[in-house]
Every structure is written in structure tokens, then in C-alpha cells.
């Protein structure tokens, strides 16, 4: 580890911290304000899209209506992407004449992008036409991100609203929340920063791939495409699906250390800011800061471990007469080095983004454990846009309940009692996640269809399988990419995993909001457990860690942990 490497990490944390308040206040104005920003310019646009979509923006929805709207929109847009992939050979913007995407892969990819996962069983440059990339995939990068933020805001409304007795239990209008996220946040930022990326060398072109004669007279076919427009929303919306197979390690996706830094900032910007938005909605900023602090602690532990591990030599190369002074450089780019690679890996898995600037499969065993654990904690270390906040709020409810048990009082949060129904929903949320990961992993390790995809033997093979389902259920999308997942078995099981990891968890979260929104608010008394201080942050961190560790430690110990000890003993497979 180097001093400069740490400066880079601390600078990143500082920028995120500095952005949290202004961006969070901006998001509050967009979703909860009396008047949205730039009313002269964007107001008519907003009213126009409501008219075209047949939405009455003043009509709010119950949690059931809200959930149905989310599901209907997601289902239709999933079908849309499936159709574009299957028909890309007859649609425009396909200069390489790429064939239609096979059915199982098209389904997997459509599910993947609808759920904000962006797991990729394909290589972009050899599979997807420019139209599929723009309209089939980047479209979802916008909409699935806007859906995530919308649901988080709705859940926050459920917890923080104070309704008059007998008032209808409404948590907002999904269509309004969706459009506001797109028009005021995601589109303007993307247009601006896509151009910044282009200025650094990220390409943006509709030209066909270019054949060049190299300096030595060889031939090289260089894949091109409209990359920058997709790159920026890939990070801003914590989607993570690369235009190219190598994702943000590809020099056309991230050519310089600056673009790398900018891309990391984009990943964390909205998830961090939403904690501030939440604090404002709760009329107590400290509620938001307490949550941000818990996320921050978990993040710093992760990045320290990953950087420490990757600064070590690759054990497989230890017997060779090479100098590994720069750490484990297999699967890493020189312009980033181990510090920026370990930081990116921690950021992208903490935030359920899944973009990568280095190959996690080639990390040292403990370095690779960090991204895996980050996802296993439930994608709440900042988490996906929106998904991170509503996930963390479920853990907040759980923590408050545990604190209530310890002192023998009915737990309450923001003055609202937490009762059996909310706890059942919270437990449902917490249990679905490991059930799909461990259930499918168990199936894959005993099935020839699962084993067939492995590219690494020994415990690392188990890690590849475990990582795949963890990534799918956590809607992360990064991979131990040696796994060849482009088979019907993997495409279908992972598609199911991703859909369950998104919608089976989003519905209980909305249900908690629906059940909390109408509850009577009782003023805080001397027996109220404060949820806006360091004690609560500590409790929240512990609950997240204990739930994650109890659930996944046995599986992880057979994968990365045992691999660590075997690697230290010089074993290879």
C-alpha cells in the first residue's frame, strides 16, 4: 500500500461526502418539493410527458397500486428489450451485421437490465448491435435506475409521512416519481458528463468497426460504438453493464485515471445523496447522517481490506523470478494500478453497480472476498440507486426491533410503532436473499450443467459459482468472469435469480411502507431508542454484519477463505 494510493481513496471519500448534501437537497426538491428545478425549461416538458402517457400527476397511489405500476412497467420494458435483441439483425444501426441474440441469452439479458443488475453472459462487441446497446440496454440503464429511486422515495414516504387519522394511506405516484428522476436528474447529468468522458477519449460514434494496419504491418479490427452515452448512465444509475466485454477496464470506456475517478464518483453520488434526502423527509437530518455513517464505516473496512490484499503479490506467480512490487497486476490495467482497482472493486460491489475496471476473478483470494461480501451484506453499503436506501431502511427496522427486544419495549421508529406485520415483511426481505443465492449455488455445484461453465479448478471454482448467484440476487452484475455463463442453464437460473432479487425484495419493502404510512405518530419519550446518533449507527453496522456473516460465512469459508490458506501454502489447481 502506498501513501498516494491512500490519498486517492480519501479524496474519493471526500468528494462523495461533499456531494451528499447539495445533491441530496436537489433530489428532495425534485421528488418532494413544491416546485421542481428549472420550472420554465423542464416544467412544460414534464407536463407534456404526463399528457402523452395519460398520467394524472396529482393522483397518488396506495402501496399496492404503486407496486403494480412498478411491475407492469418492468414487465413491458423487459419484453421490449427481448424483442429488440431478437430482431436486431433486421433493425437499423447494426453495421457489423450481428445476428439475432439467441433466446436464452436474450431473456437473461433483458431480465438483467430490467432489474438494474447488468449481468452479462455475452461480450458486447461481438453480440449486440448499436441499436440494441442504445435502445435495448441503455434505455434500461435509465429506467431501472429511475424505478429504484422512485421506490426508495416511496418507502421513505411511508416511514416519514404523518397522516391525519382516517386519511387514505398513499405513498406517491409511481409515474410521477419515474419521470421526475429521468427528466430532472438522470438525463441532464448524463448529457453533460457523457461529453466530459468523450473529451478524455471515450468514443461516441455510429461508424462500423475499423480495420487498421498496425505499426508492424499486422491487422487489427477495432470495435467502436456509441460508448460515452452508455458509459455515464451505466455508473450514475449503478447499472454496470459494459459496452465492451472488458467493461470499464477497456480504454475506450475509461481511458484515463480521471475518467476512472469520475466513474467511481458517479456510482456513489446518488446512493449517498439519498441518505440526505431521507433525512430531510424525516424532518431530522441526523436520521440521514446516521445511515450514511453506517454505510461509510462498512465501505472503509471493505476498501482497506481490498487494497491491503491486492497490494500483495499474486501467490500463483510467487515461485517465478519476477518483481511484484506493484502488487497483484494480473487482470489489472497499468493506468489504474492496484489502488484504484481495489477502490473501484469495493465501490462497484458496495453500490450494486457491477461495472469493473479490473478482473475480480484474478484478485487474490482475500481481495476477491471483499466484493463478494459487499454484495452478500445485501447491497446496503451505499447500494444501488434507491435499492441501497430501501434495503438499508429494512435493516434499520430490524435494528430498531432488536434494540426494542433488548430493553423490553415495543420498538418504534420515527415515532411509529413497529409491529408484527412489519417485522414479518422485514424478515421476508432478509431471508429471500440468501435463499436464492445458496439454493441455486447448491444446485449448480452438484449439477454437471453448473460445473461445465467453470474456468478455474479447486476452491476458486466454487467462488465463481457463489459469486455468480450472489451477484445476480444482489442485482450487482459484476462477475468472477472466468465462468462461462452463456449456456441455457446459467442464463435461465441467473435470470430467475435476478428477477427474484429485485422484485421479491422490492415488494416487501413497499409493503412495509404501506403498513407504516398510516400509523399514529407518538412523541418521543425517555424510553425511546434514538435512531440518529453514533450508538444507532454502531448497532446498524453490527446487525448488517451479523446477518451477512451468519448467513454466508459457511459458504465463503469453502471458497475464498480456504483458497487463501491453500494459496499461502503454494498450492495451485
Amino acid at each position: 500500500m502506498t501513501f498516494v494510493g491512500w490519498i486517492q481513496t480519501l479524496a474519493f471519500a471526500g468528494v462523495i461526502l461533499a456531494l451528499t448534501r447539495p445533491l441530496g437537497a436537489f433530489l428532495y426538491r425534485v421528488y418532494e418539493g413544491e416546485q421542481q428545478p428549472l420550472p420554465k425549461l423542464l416544467g412544460p416538458l414534464e407536463r407534456g410527458v404526463y399528457r402523452l402517457s395519460g398520467v394524472d400527476p396529482r393522483r397518488e397511489q396506495t402501496w399496492v397500486e404503486y407496486a403494480f405500476a412498478v411491475l407492469a412497467f418492468s414487465a413491458l420494458s423487459l419484453l421490449g428489450t427481448y424483442a429488440i435483441e431478437r430482431l436486431q439483425h433486421v433493425l437499423p444501426f447494426n453495421p457489423q451485421k450481428l445476428a439475432a441474440v439467441p433466446a436464452d441469452l436474450a431473456f437473461n439479458t433483458a431480465a438483467s437490465f430490467t432489474t438494474n443488475t447488468n449481468w452479462q453472459s455475452y461480450s458486447g462487441e461481438s453480440t449486440m448491435s448499436y441499436l440494441t446497446q442504445m435502445a435495448g440496454l441503455a434505455w434500461h440503464n435509465f429506467t431501472s435506475a429511475a424505478v429504484g429511486i422512485a421506490v426508495a422515495i416511496a418507502v421513505a414516504r411511508g416511514l416519514t409521512r404523518r397522516l391525519a387519522p382516517g386519511a387514505p394511506k398513499l405513498i406517491g405516484n409511481f409515474w410521477v416519481d419515474l419521470w421526475r428522476g429521468l427528466l430532472y436528474v438522470l438525463l441532464p447529468v448524463s448529457i453533460l458528463l457523457a461529453l466530459v468522458l468523450v473529451s478524455q477519449g471515450v468514443i461516441q460514434t455510429l461508424s462500423a468497426y475499423r480495420d487498421v494496419t498496425t505499426l508492424e504491418g499486422g491487422k487489427q479490427l477495432v470495435a467502436l460504438g456509441p460508448v460515452a452515452s452508455q458509459e455515464v448512465i451505466k455508473e450514475l444509475g449503478t447499472n454496470g453493464g459494459g459496452f465492451f466485454n472488458a467493461n470499464s477496464a477497456h480504454p475506450f470506456e475509461s481511458p484515463t485515471p480521471f475518467t476512472n475517478f469520475l466513474e467511481m464518483v458517479l456510482i456513489f453520488a446518488i446512493p449517498a445523496a439519498l441518505t440526505y434526502t431521507y433525512g430531510r423527509m424525516a424532518r431530522n437530518q441526523r436520521q440521514g447522517w446516521a445511515i450514511l455513517a453506517a454505510m461509510g464505516v462498512l465501505f472503509l473496512v471493505g476498501v482497506t481490506s481490498a487494497y491491503w490484499a491486492e497490494a500483495h503479490p499474486n501467490p500463483a506467480l510467487a515461485p517465478l523470478a519476477v518483481s511484484q512490487a506493484r502488487g497483484n497486476m494480473e487482470g489489472k490495467e497499468v493506468r489504474f494500478g492496484v489502488a484504484a482497482s481495489a477502490l473501484f472493486a469495493t465501490v462497484t460491489t458496495g453500490a450494486s453497480c457491477g461495472a469493473v475496471n479490473s478482473m475480480h476473478d484474478s484478485f487474490t483470494p482475500l481481495g476477491g472476498l471483499v466484493p463478494l461480501v459487499n454484495i452478500q451484506l445485501g447491497e446496503v453499503v451505499f447500494g444501488g440507486v434507491g435499492a441501497g436506501l430501501y434495503g438499508m431502511l429494512v435493516f434499520v427496522v430490524l435494528s430498531v426491533f432488536i434494540a426494542g427486544l433488548m430493553v423490553g419495549r415495543t420498538p418504534e421508529y420515527l415515532g411509529k410503532k413497529i409491529e408484527a406485520r412489519e417485522m414479518k415483511l422485514a424478515m421476508l426481505y432478509v431471508l429471500i436473499f440468501p435463499l436464492i443465492i445458496l439454493g441455486f449455488s447448491a444446485w449448480a455445484v452438484v449439477s454437471p450443467l453448473g460445473i461445465a461453465g467453470l474456468s478455474n479448478a479447486g476452491p476458486h471454482g466454487l467462488s465463481e459459482i457463489l459469486y455468480a448467484f450472489t451477484s445476480g440476487a444482489g442485482n450487482n452484475g459484476s462477475a468472477f468472469a472466468g465462468l462461462n455463463a452463456n449456456t441455457p442453464f446459467w442464463n435461465v437460473t441467473l435470470a430467475v435469480t435476478m428477477l427474484a432479487g429485485r422484485f421479491l425484495m422490492l415488494i416487501p419493502a413497499l409493503a412495509i411502507a404501506g403498513s407504516m404510512v398510516g400509523k399514529k405518530v407518538v412523541p418521543a419519550g425517555p424510553g425511546t431508542f434514538p435512531t440518529d446518533g453514533a450508538l444507532f449507527t454502531g448497532l446498524l453496522v453490527s446487525v448488517v454484519l451479523i446477518v451477512g456473516a451468519l448467513t454466508f460465512f459457511p459458504a465463503d469459508s469453502l471458497g475464498p477463505i480456504v483458497e487463501h490458506f491453500l494459496a499461502s501454502a503454494g498450492k495451485v489447481f
Binding site: 479524496a11 402517457s53 395519460g54 397500486e65 405500476a69 407492469a72 420494458s77 442504445m134 435502445a135 441503455a138 434505455w139 409515474w175 448529457i191 457523457a194 461529453l195 468523450v198 478524455q200 461516441q204 460514434t205 461508424s207 498496425t214 508492424e216 504491418g217 499486422g218 477495432v222 456509441p226 452515452s229 465492451f244 466485454n245 472488458a246 477496464a249 477497456h250 480504454p251 475506450f252 485515471p257 476512472n260 506467480l317 523470478a321 519476477v322 511484484q324 506493484r326 497486476m329 487482470g331 490495467e333 497499468v334 489504474f336 484504484a340 484474478s362 487474490t364 476477491g368 474456468s455 478455474n456 479448478a457 479447486g458 476458486h460 472466468g482 465462468l483 452463456n486 483458497e563 495451485v572
Partner: protein, 212 residues
């Protein structure tokens, strides 16, 4: 229920048009006006004005007169700019160890007088397979071979390497690095083109086993 589906269908189509078509085409248009060279791929030309590649994309070099990039797992033969990939071999992979040992043997044979140990970047595959850079150490390590092949003093070659070494951005982002293609072009411009054996194939270094 029916009205819900109608709204959902309309929003689906509308978002598809706005974010899936209008947005990327607007960005493409603006990029073409503002940064045409960058948007098209950062192509570089040799002294005769021929495009010889993108400065951002690694290409294979086998001649001793040129600096060689890191090993590549892109495509089946390496440096496939339409098949980016890392090796994805794990830290207990025998394939990784054996592959690196082979590359090491080849490097030692080609660089008999170079210092030991060899920087590990030269035997490890990059993440993209198209990493256009070498660390300054890995470039300087090759100076003795390049200078001998071109009949130049080591100092003159080393000076070109130093001139092409980029520092960390703002002093703390990323790592110091040397762009291999730009470095080789600079050598050609200053000292003339080396005479090459007829080009064998696209691939020039020992390819690593493809990941999948």
C-alpha cells in the same frame, strides 16, 4: 387494471424513444461537433500520415526494435480489439502460473542482458487485453534490447522513454505510465523505421489461454 396497462405501455414507449434513441443520438451529434478526434477513436498516424492504430488500444509488437506491451488475453491470439478480455485466471490457477512461466522464459531469451527480476506487469495479462501502457519500470527494462536492436546508445532510448512517461493525474490519481504505441512512433520519428522481418501474424507475443 386496463388503464394501468395503457399507461404502462405508453410510458414504456415514451421512455424508449427519449432515453434509448433521442439521448444517445443527441450525445453523438454533440460529441462529433465538440470532440471529433476523441469521439471517433483517437487514431494516430505514422510519419507518412498512415493511420497505424488508436493511441488508446494496445497492439502487438514482436520486433526487438520496438517496445512490447503487456501480454494480452483479448481474442484467441491476443490484442484482438474486437474481443476485449482478461485471462480471468485465479490466484491458485496452474494455468496462470505455467502461462506466466512461458512468457518469462521467452522474455529472458529475448533480453539476455536485461536486469533481473523482471517487472511482473510483463508476464501478467491486463484486464482488457488492450492495455496501451507499460509501467515506467517495465519500459525501462526493455531499453537495453531496443537500443541494441537499433544500434543506439541506451541513454538516447532511455531519454525517449522518460519524455513519454506520464505522471499520475494531479499527482495522485492512477499510476505513472508509458504509452507503448506513442513511444514506438516517437522512436521511429527520431531514429527512423527499423527493418522488420516479414510480419508473421497479427499476434506477436505468446498468447495466453482464452478465458472462454
Amino acid at each position: 387494471m386496463r388503464s394501468l396497462l395503457t399507461v404502462a405501455l405508453r410510458v414504456t414507449l415514451l421512455t424508449l424513444v427519449v432515453t434509448g434513441l433521442v439521448y444517445p443520438l443527441v450525445v453523438t451529434g454533440l460529441a462529433a461537433v465538440l470532440f471529433p478526434g476523441r469521439a471517433e477513436g483517437s487514431w494516430v498516424t505514422d510519419e507518412r500520415g498512415q493511420v497505424v492504430g488508436s493511441e488508446l488500444i494496445a497492439q502487438g509488437f514482436s520486433s526487438p526494435s520496438y517496445f512490447q506491451p503487456r501480454p494480452s488475453a483479448a481474442g484467441t491470439t491476443g490484442y484482438d480489439a474486437a474481443g476485449s478480455s482478461g485471462s480471468n485466471l485465479g490466484p491458485t490457477s496452474k494455468k496462470l502460473r505455467d502461462g506466466a512461466a512461458d512468457v518469462l522464459k521467452k522474455l529472458e531469451a529475448e533480453n539476455p542482458n536485461a536486469p533481473r527480476p523482471i517487472p511482473a506487469e510483463l508476464v501478467t495479462a491486463s484486464a482488457s487485453g488492450l492495455d496501451p501502457h507499460l509501467s515506467p519500470e517495465a519500459a525501462l527494462w526493455q531499453v537495453r534490447r531496443v537500443a541494441a536492436a537499433r544500434g543506439l546508445s541506451e541513454e538516447r532510448v532511455r531519454a525517449v522513454v522518460t519524455a513519454h512517461t506520464e505522471d499520475r493525474t494531479w499527482g495522485f490519481l492512477g499510476e505513472p505510465r508509458v504509452n507503448v504505441l506513442l513511444l514506438n512512433l516517437a522512436l521511429d520519428r527520431q531514429f527512423g523505421r527499423p527493418t522488420l522481418q516479414p510480419p508473421a501474424a497479427t499476434s506477436t507475443q505468446t498468447p495466453l489461454p482464452p478465458a472462454h
